[in-house]
Amino acid sequence: MGDILRNYDILGAFWVTIQLSVLSAVGALVIGTVIAVLRVSPVGILRTIGSLYVNLIRNTPLTLLMAFSILGMTFILGLQLDEQATRNAYWWAVIMLAVYHAAFVCEALRSGVNTIPAGQAEAARSIGLTFAQSMREVLLPQAFRGSIAPLGSVLIALIKNTTVAAVILGTAESAGLLAEITENEGASLPTFFIFALGFVILTLPIGIATTNLSRRLSVKR
């Protein structure tokens, strides 16, 4: 056990997990918000673009996106993001994680919008608020509160899904490192529990925080 900790860079692998999570979470939030705006827009073709994105991405395995990013995008289509192969794989992992989870961010935001009863918008309009005002003062605050809990589950899933980047990052990523350790040293339950514990530590606070927050901020109806 001590040897394993000394010979393998487990903390380094988790640092990669954290980096991938933060970078791709920001990316997913940005792309997901844009797609969500498209999906609730009053223009038919924009809505179609939004739902096409969600349905295509949501039904594709992340593993396929990851594998394709290197084997297809870099090697064949020549889309190289960095001279160095490992950095290139790293940035592709961030992009694919962001693109994949953006579809779920979009759905989380939309479910927040869908929790608002029509009466709220009607009430806002009937007291004379303009479109922008009713958005800012009445609708968006409620939509945001309604989407905290689903956004939290998307973030947790994203953190766990960073392991899929092992497909292209290999041992730099925690799942790849665990595979190598297990292959070299044989099955070691304590090592597995260290990796598992790492993910529990990363995801548990997010689950608790978002549940509490969504409960505290929930709109009383």
Binding site: I45, N59, T63, L178
Partner: protein, 289 residues
Amino acid sequence: MSAETVLFDAPGPKARLRHRILTGVGALLVLLALWVVYRKMDSANQLQGFMWEPFVTDKAVWTAYLLPGLWETAKAAAASVVLAGAFGIIFGMGRLSPFRSVRWVSSVVVEFFRSVPVLLMMVFFFFGYFATASWLPNQYAPFAAVVLALTLYNGSVIAELVRSGVHSLPKGQSEAGMSIGLTDFQTLRIVQLPQALRAMLPALVGQLVVVLKDTALGTVVLYPELLTSAKTLGSAYANTVPAYLVAAFLFIVINYLLTRLASYVEGFMQRKKRSAGTPMAAASAAGPA
């Protein structure tokens, strides 16, 4: 409540003009995106006939690569779903048990397997146990690792569905069970669980999409599922990009149909009213991979 009706009024003449302009902009963006993809594919010589023709002309592409891959994917998904269902019902009932120790153990098991990434479990089971196990013929090792990992994760998700399904039933159901002299366990098994399972059905079908996508993780432990077979197909025919795109297309079509099935089942259950609980919508939250 549909989004458009909350957010927007019926458009007047100015808004209609604006919508027409945005329609034009949207169409332009789509065309631009398609053009960029076309140029990229063309300049990398990915649109040549010999790369795409085999999918239509060469039977071996399907019989030797894609269909066997699809079959392995379906096999792993089916086995995992059945086992996960059993796991979920057992531990879901465990979490509803009147005994604190049973509740506690089931909660720890469920919460643990829900928070550990599937891929970690898969590589650990494969490299740690199945690949080196003397009792398991070598060719079954990847299958065993994929199914076990998917069972533990999705079983825990289903256990949570069982628990929330039973909790969502009106209190009168369990009271009725108790008042005709059933024990706690009998009430759960005979009265609550059947209704909870019916209410869960749409969410269960939705979970099938997650399982199906997750079988693609099997490529890491060399399980010959659809993604792996697309990769070998790509190297055999020198058409990696088309092979991946076709595999993605197959995944998307199957999962889209399953999603549609889930919402159909949801509507069906709502009409049938065979359960005191309301049907649970298929979760749209991100399942791993």
